[in-house]
Subunit: 353 residues, 2 copies
């Protein structure tokens, strides 16, 4: 793949705020339970088995691309994948999400966490990336990803998904030195994992700080920003980076300060106001509420038009949901969404010429 | 109680943005599980039994006032209380919050919902209000409350607390006429319930739209604002009203448009920015993260000072948490918080003279 060719991808061009003939779109969890092919595979394999088998992970990555004209693929994996080789085992309990039986809450536990070589210990992921790149034959670019330090810290401290993040925040407030040791270690691991994915062939990165919206701006600035910044800086300039979170409407300026070529926002904020606030010198990704896809097509259409109007045809908008596709989403609605975004945005973009 | 005397309460003065010698403070769930006296009673009675027995509800309302120099009492009750007489039964499942075994999701179910007379069917609540007012002997004012139409709708549609509000939003999007019928009915019930509380003696109202932050500004404006506005208008001008929600940083202007003398905000937004955005012609309530109370006293102190500095001694700030006190909060920290707010704010206020 030459750099010249990469410059032609609308998705990558949008990451760099270059003009595109239409607004590129991809969808968080575009490979997932809403697709029949995915559910068929999941009957035979657990989620983790699918992540850890490069052939299966590659197959699942490619599934949505057979049905939808998406502008990017994202490698099938999980934000929690780096935690196991760090020494924090977990399992996916049925209907409950990840469960960590030995959460990390004290300094001694943090000290035991391992820095590891992702080339070795996440070789399945790197191999899946190589397979997908080959299979894609350069048609669309491939995105790699990881969680951000805060979101991963919250999982291993709480022992799973949390409603109030009491233990996570209590650690910050009560034992800031253990907190910073933990965040520091996570940052180092994430830099390694993301750089290994870039080396294996991903052409863009998304960093998911999915749960960071539980924090006050002050807490974000003091306890999170320095580490997210370190991770985002640690990736160099070789591929564009999308910095994503949910419920972040009061954190956007700080997230921009932490870094990223594109800031990912959810539906809880108007896209135009968000972009105005972070400034038009970065791209923006978002921000359809995934639940909108449960509504009638006419309603989806209205929402898509509204978001495209807010983006105003400005280079640097990547269309996406505000969070992952929900399991019961109708496949036809996803297909319609992708086509609508292309069709309506190409009219707007032409209108601006 | 004369109107003249009411004008002397710092809490009520702040609701009307009149100057006060110090910043008044009360705490959401100030009567609750973090207190030993409360836990002792809870061993003998269920939560609902306590709500429905006027003597017990009054006793619990008064418990925190024996320990902390709070500037207002709030009647012990629950936002779900009006739902049972509407015909939507629920129970509190252990550790799970409320569970509605027959959720409301179709037009026929909405039609069956009963408008009722709260003087009759919530007489226990009105009686508790009368007892508390008598016991308080005019020392501090008493707050009444209810949920807002959206938050109550979300509970009865989802069948309990929800993570993504998929069913609630799907009803909005797929069947807007059933949605509006439901919201309309809830609004009518809430107006009656709140006016009955005012008549029974509460001197201020808080409307809890606790989960409204899951919505996009557009959805709020179309599907929620008209009903919240109706409720807030339906209370007349006799007592001040606090309009509260969480994760609302992108909804604040719209919430102000819906109404309320004071807008309640959580910690996810800086108080000064929030106040700037809604305008200084309404009061603001908030916004300490309840988890901060799990931290060391020195840390709590720093956070209290930061919030008071953001409020800048401006009349119209009511100090509160951004959401309810958490069950494991140390009682000493609550006491320290209340005293600190009084002490530091009286210095600031004097400094401004």
């Amino acid at each position: 793949m030459t750099n010249e060719k990469e410059k032609q991808y609308p998705f990558l061009r949008a990451c760099h705020r270059r003009p595109t003939p239409y607004t590129p779109i991809w969808l968080m969890r575009q490979a997932g339970r809403y697709m029949k092919e995915y559910r068929t595979l999941r009957k035979k394999y657990s989620f983790m088995e699918m992540c850890k088998d490069p052939e299966l992970a590659a197959e699942v990555t490619l599934q949505p691309l057979k049905h939808f004209r998406l502008d990017a693929a994202i490698i099938f994996s999980d934000i929690l994948i780096p935690l196991e080789p760090m020494g924090v085992g977990f399992e996916f309990a049925k209907g409950e999400g990840p469960v960590f039986h030995r959460p990390i809450r004290i300094s001694r536990d943090v000290e035991k966490l391992r820095l590891f070589d992702p080339k070795e210990e996440l070789s399945f992921l790197m191999e899946a990336i190589r397979i997908v790149r080959k299979e894609l034959e350069g048609k669309i670019p491939l995105i790699g990803f990881s969680g951000a330090p805060f979101t991963l810290a919250s999982y291993i401290i709480e022992g799973g998904y949390s409603k109030n993040y009491v233990l996570t925040k209590a650690l910050m407030y009560q034992d800031p030195s253990t907190w910073s040791k933990l965040m520091d270690k996570l940052s180092k691991v994430l830099i390694r994992c993301l750089n290994a994915q870039i080396k294996a062939g991903v052409q863009a990165i998304q960093v998911f700080d999915s749960w960071v919206g539980c924090l006050s701006p002050r807490d974000y600035e003091e306890y999170v920003l320095p580490y997210s910044k370190k991770v985002l800086k640690g990736l160099g300039q070789s591929v564009p980076v999308i910095h994503f979170g949910t419920s972040t409407s009061a954190l956007l300026e700080l997230m921009k300060r932490a870094g990223g070529d594109v800031i990912g926002v959810d539906w809880r904020v108007n896209l135009d106001e968000a972009w105005e606030r972070i400034g038009h010198d970065v791209g923006i990704q978002g921000n359809l509420d995934p639940v909108v896809l449960m509504g009638p097509i006419g309603f989806i259409k209205k929402e898509v038009k509204r978001i495209l109007k807010q983006a105003n045809g400005r280079p640097g908008h990547i269309f996406n949901l505000g969070h992952g596709i929900l399991p019961n989403t109708p496949v036809e609605s996803v297909a319609a969404l992708v086509d609508m975004v292309h069709e309506y945005s190409s009219m707007t973009k032409q209108g601006r010429r």
